[in-house]
């Protein structure tokens, strides 16, 4: 908004996005208490940034800050790292076997879907790049373009990560039954 201070814009932008920010941070850190620290750190960064930048799309903007704050937090506290250790080139290629959805028993697959605990564990076990893409899409409700903005990746990469994330989920629900 023109002519408003950083603090005013902060109050317009951040409080409505707290639930989204907290949910994302909790999935990335896998800890409710860490998630609170991450969101608080992200809010401070946002407040500082608002004195110099103007924000067109608050949601991907703030969630990008939350994501980066989560990465810093995890690195600093030597928790499970959010950086992907493997080769980034093979990361974004689709694995045709994962797309092969020949569930031997569709009913069993449906039952597995209704096992909330198992589903949540399967989501938590996704490698970080897939986890953040899935959470931003299905929990935060960002569009592909907004996810690309928030994760600083190309839209094509977002698409293949999301497709793979869902294929991995389906596969792990099938195999662990």
């Amino acid at each position: 908004m023109r002519g408003s201070t950083a603090e005013q814009r902060f109050r317009e932008i951040v409080p409505p996005l707290l639930d989204d920010a907290y949910s994302l941070a909790k999935w990335l850190s896998q800890s409710p208490t860490d998630a609170e620290d991450i969101v608080q750190d992200a809010a401070l960064r946002a407040l500082q940034a608002l004195s110099t930048v103007s924000v067109d799309r608050p949601k991907p903007w703030f969630l990008a800050i939350v994501r980066n704050a989560a990465m810093t937090f995890m690195a600093r506290n030597r928790r499970k790292t959010l950086a992907y250790a493997g080769d980034m080139t093979d990361l974004d290629a689709l694995d045709p076997r994962e797309g092969d959805d020949a569930a031997p028993n569709p009913e069993q697959a449906l039952i597995a879907l209704e096992d909330g605990e198992r589903l949540r564990k399967a989501i938590a076990d996704l490698p970080p790049p897939f986890l953040e893409t899935l959470v931003m899409r299905d929990i935060n409700g960002l569009t592909y373009r907004e996810i690309a903005e928030a994760t600083e990746t190309a839209i094509g990469t977002v698409m293949s990560r999301l497709a793979r994330a869902r294929a991995m989920l389906a596969k792990s629900l099938r195999t662990e039954s």
């Binding site: 908004m1 408003s4 409080p15 707290l18 589903l119 949540r120 999301l162």
Partner: protein
């Protein structure tokens, strides 16, 4: 099928599921699904997975302690908006700080009394005909001078609707009026007779219009249709089969009429304006 075709198919399936295909692409995809039961079955499985994720891993509410800490990062600042009748504003929700200085506190209370007196009176008395409109105008002014015209800022109907649905008891469809020049900017909750009611906020050039949705019986005593003027703000009321609507705006009467017309057309499945 080559790996490349398979990749392509999987990406399109996901894009269709996420509403990311354009109009032509999604019609083509629907035709393909009709002709290809395997594709349709894959889509169903993917949709079931997506729905299960939303059901079992929903967005969580941030703890109140966290919300309070975030709110405490910024003290309520003097309003810079020129139309404010008062130099300081206390946003009503969440943002009230307990640790502000006694001086600021005293000033704030003075302002609260000055700026919100009418609104609070309307809250305390049962909303009669005029009281409802007065109350909603006060609410509009309060939101505008607080620099917080909405609690959820989004132009995406599919973001605003679920946000409102979890906080209020009535929830109509949210019309997309951007093509008519009234883009959605967000939503907020308005308290009417101590019950939360959804309010949609649309923008038109520099002006805002806030549409509050109410159960028919609550608005029935609110008077008939048409546009009235309260303290320089224009108020329009109308109803459809399900809900009554009260729109408060700082835009001129003609623009508000155009907005109401567009809103009613969008809300009515036949494309005809609903009854007055």
């Amino acid at each position: 099928m080559s790996d490349r075709d398979r990749d392509e198919r999987l990406l399109r399936l996901n894009a269709a599921l996420d509403g990311e295909l354009d109009a032509i692409g999604s019609r083509a995809f629907e035709r393909e699904m009709r002709d290809d039961p395997a594709l349709a079955a894959e889509y169903q499985r993917l949709a079931a997975l997506r729905d299960a994720v939303r059901r079992h891993a929903p967005r969580e509410e941030a703890p109140q302690t966290l919300a309070a800490r975030i709110a405490a990062m910024t003290a309520p600042a003097p309003a810079e908006a020129p139309p404010a009748p008062a130099p300081t504003v206390i946003p009503l929700r969440r943002r009230a700080r307990l640790d502000r200085s006694a001086l600021a506190m005293a000033a704030s209370f003075a302002v609260l009394g000055f700026a919100l007196g009418a609104g609070l009176m309307a809250l305390r008395t049962p909303a009669g005909s005029g009281a409802l409109a007065d109350h909603l105008v006060s609410d509009f002014v309060r939101a505008a001078i607080a620099g917080q015209p909405f609690d959820v800022a989004s132009s995406d109907r599919h973001t605003v609707k679920p946000w409102l649905a979890t906080r209020t008891t009535v929830s109509g469809d949210i019309a997309d009026l951007a093509p008519q020049g009234f883009p959605l900017v967000g939503g907020r909750v308005t308290i009417v007779d101590r019950v939360p009611a959804p309010t949609l906020v649309y923008r038109h050039n520099e002006h805002l219009v806030a549409v509050t949705e109410l159960p028919i019986e609550k608005a029935a005593r609110g008077g008939a249709g048409g546009i009235e003027t309260i303290d320089g703000y224009h108020v329009a009321r109308w109803a459809d089969a399900a809900l009554a609507y009260v729109a408060v705006s700082d835009m001129d009467e003609k623009a508000l009429s155009a907005f109401v017309e567009a809103f009613r057309r969008a809300a009515s499945p036949t494309g005809e304006p609903a009854r007055p």
